[in-house]
Symmetry: C2
Subunit: 311 residues, 2 copies
């Protein structure tokens, strides 16, 4: 990185690079990190692109929050402890105000998720953000998609469909048909703009879960990935889906569609052995069976999640 | 990742994911990698954007080569052994032909650099590629920018300025003033389109070097980073710069400018103790001194390298 570019990114983002496992952060050719003893590295990269993943008028701090959540929820789904992240930011032009707001959102993520920012690349171009997250698991203990067994319960970590409803509201796709109270609108839009990667579940998952996936494309689609990888079928009970009060006040068919097929919540879908004692917050919504495919209330589920290039 | 997107990236890029340290590659929420014992993780992310880092008509296989070289040369500069990479690819539309050509270039990099591809994200948007490379160094042995000492020699790993000359030719900025032979043009353009990260130097650097940086923004700019970080001055001898035969046939002033300030070669600038026995390929081009700043032939060097957002 050359002088001006480096100064710009370092000034705004260099303060987020400290952490007990960071041997060398932003400012050299690469970062150097120490992993805990007897552990393996877990790594995932995710991009968010303006106009594809968030509307053009999204506040920069929310761009940061969504970009980090999209990547960090993959760590949670692998039951990995957070280690650090790098950020590749493409901006149409150097914009101090934009970077200031972006860094506010980023700083909150760094702190809340214990993910120090150890590398950054700033380039000129259409707005997009790629976050690479790194974490660690004790050797051999990563929670993969293929671990579910017939009889296992399917659980989720929080209410579903809120972010998709929020996005529909933001895009003006709901107001004409539905009266949505101002506080419900605020709640739902916040769930879209400020998702939380569920890293607080990592220790519990390591102890109890057989498989997990983050719900980025919708429950049906993501559970289908888990069921396929595990060689199982899964039956979801629509009546068991946890819905927020705000979502519950929408039309019954709409809220069910949103909860089943709405992406962007970044909650976790988790397979646990039957009769596992579930802690508060984790809700059983289905069960794995012999066979293949995902059904909701015994009706075969179409794969209706968001697919960037069509199915 | 949803069905179609996942299929597309897996079909084209999933074959590059094998490696002795890869416990889990493309296809789960995240990849899992094993580091060698007593080592630290080295990580760097770099983006290349169409229109900023490469012309619009660049062949997809060359987009891949440049994107990987830009990131992987950072591993070389840290004296890190390659471990794996992830790729975040943003494409305007799903394009099987484009992906086929891109994967050809990527496959050659994976093999040549021993960098298996363990994660991929495919999104829709203006063309850009972010590569995150991971490597390992024995604990405490990363080669940082701040290690040069007064008296150390400044060396480079190969001829300089070729890629910048190649880009100028590609952009039609040289033809009118200079007669360039067809084979020279081909050589120079290939140096731009197909740079090589100098990972073959890693073992030698670990044994002998005090500091290194990859030359992505031009020798003067990048050596200035090294000198600043090391608290030294550096004097470059223009007569010692290794020039390719093709570059040598250009005008004397032009070739010197290109060798001093042209980026994109991804060669390494290396500080070694004085009187180090240099292996073939490594050429001394200057010396570190007490003081600060970089001079060429005792003339203070302006910082003229490529800076994405101006200096």
């Amino acid at each position: 990185m050359a002088g001006g570019e480096f100064d710009l990114i370092y000034r705004h983002l260099g303060i987020f690079g400290a952490g007990s496992q960071v041997r060398l952060g932003v400012g050299d050719d690469a970062a150097v990190l120490a992993l805990p003893a007897n552990s393996e590295l877990v790594v995932s990269s995710d991009s968010v692109v303006e106009g594809t993943h968030f509307p053009e008028f999204t506040l920069p701090e929310h761009v940061a929050t969504r970009a980090v959540a999209a990547a960090a929820s993959d760590l949670a789904a692998m039951a990995a402890e957070p280690l650090a992240m790098t950020l590749a930011l493409t901006l149409p032009e150097p914009d101090e105000l934009w970077l200031h707001s972006f860094s506010q959102g980023l700083g909150r993520c760094v702190e809340a998720l214990s993910l120090p920012l150890v590398g950054g690349d700033l380039t000129r171009g259409p707005l997009s953000v790629t976050v690479t997250v790194m974490g660690s698991v004790p050797t051999g203990r990563a929670l993969v998609r293929s671990g579910a067994k017939p009889g296992d319960w399917l659980c989720v970590t929080h209410t579903l469909g809120d972010a998709a409803a929020g996005l529909a509201l933001i895009m003006g796709q709901l107001q004409s048909d539905y009266e949505v109270a101002a506080e419900d609108e605020e709640f739902l839009e916040t769930r879209f703009y400020q998702p939380t990667a569920r890293l607080e579940w990592v220790s519990w998952l390591r102890e109890h879960a057989r498989s997990a996936i983050d719900i980025s494309d919708g429950l049906l689609v993501d559970v289908a990935h888990m069921a396929d990888a595990s060689g199982c079928a899964c039956i979801i009970d629509s009546g068991a889906l946890p819905l927020s009060p705000a979502l519950s006040r929408l039309d019954a068919n709409l809220r069910l569609d949103l909860a089943l097929a709405g992406g962007d919540d970044y909650e976790l879908a988790v397979a646990v052995p039957p009769k596992t004692e579930l802690p508060p917050g984790l809700v059983q919504v289905g069960e794995f069976h012999e066979g293949s495919g995902v059904q909701c209330d015994y009706i075969p589920a179409k794969r209706v999640g968001f697919d960037h290039f069509g199915a």
